[in-house]
Symmetry: C2
């Protein structure tokens, strides 16, 4: 593997484990057994590493949110969207652990984040509209924009919710299984809006993705 | 007003305007025209000021979430709960702007926050159960625990959503009217779960609280 790629992969792993703020370029170089000068040859500073990781996340997410080109949406699609979205959030969870801090201390990232979020919500709206058009969600009571905004809030804040409310130790490693409950919670948004046929599929998926949250669920 | 109270009120105003991280005890003393020594006579450090403000917020929130003792819940109660909760979040918005950072850098606050959040969610669950018992939400499809968790996520992240996704300038003052849209979004959680009589009240409230979000709503 090329050094540039090794730096990116090690940075992502360290940021996810320890938090982006706790990791310096010196830590990353030491972790890889390369000199700081070698790292600076590839990246001017940590912001540039974060920027490149964010670009990868953007690309991965755009793929995850694409609509099928040759058919309408079916109930199973929604579950698949959510699994893929939560996996992306898990892979880049450092972004969402301390998003406010990251955006306040990195104006270039902040300038990219806002249109990115707005594109994601617009695409989420198109997906919910596709679920209405596909007869999965009831047309009269479903507001695709309100659903997209609420899904965004649940998805992007699920990891920090697990850290600040659910797990017992702030520094404790996150249990990836608790992401499955996030899928359950986003599906719960549409529980009252499902047409009878779709309800069978989504209720089953909600049961499959249920995971008790330590400290919260009795 | 006593000096101690003046310090608390000035701190809250400065934290909300500028972010807790940007404000030092020296700023607070200078703002009040008192000496740093006078401030330290009342509060050992900034953490102690934050701890006292958090206690006030806890008390205010416990009042906001109380169930009526002499009657069941009606559809209008839900709207009132949400208005009061969002007002509390607005009054103490510095807590939610950079919650992760605040909790990571203040272990004593972090130790208080987790049980506080868990109590709030338990009380939210009791409120949703009360709405089921009062015939406002459909019993078969309403999971009060899932609703309470989703409401918590929307409520506590609404301010940072406005800052990171909606408004154009990270430092720009928040428009308090956009909180109303937060009420609309939490009401949208239960849109498909309402019994027909309650639907009339809640649909009207959703229309009343609708506020377009700049950059997001066309």
């Amino acid at each position: 593997m090329k050094t540039r790629e090794r730096i990116l992969q090690a940075s992502l792993a360290l940021f996810n484990e320890q938090g982006e703020r706790q990791v310096t370029t010196n830590h990353i170089a030491a972790h890889l057994g390369i000199s700081p000068g070698n790292l600076y040859y590839h990246f001017r500073n940590k912001e540039q590493i974060v920027a490149e990781l964010f670009s990868r996340y953007e690309t991965q997410l755009a793929d995850s949110l694409a609509l099928p080109v040759d058919r309408g949406l079916v109930a199973e699609d929604k579950v698949h969207y959510l699994e893929t979205l939560f996996q992306g959030i898990w892979d880049y969870r450092f972004l969402y652990r301390e998003l406010e801090h990251l955006l306040l201390s990195d104006p270039a990232l902040s300038a990219r984040f806002r249109p990115f979020a707005q594109r994601c919500i617009a695409q989420g709206r198109a997906i919910y509209q596709g679920l209405v058009d596909g007869g999965i969600l009831c047309a009269e009571r479903t507001d695709p924009q309100a659903m997209a905004i609420n899904s965004w809030l649940l998805l992007t804040n699920w990891v920090s919710f697990l850290c600040s409310v659910v797990s017992n130790e702030p520094g404790q490693a996150l249990d990836q299984r608790l992401l499955r409950r996030g899928v359950h919670q986003v599906l719960a948004l549409e529980r009252g809006l499902l047409t009878p046929e779709a309800a069978v599929v989504v209720e089953q998926a909600m049961a499959d993705f249920y995971q008790p949250l330590p400290g919260l669920d009795a």
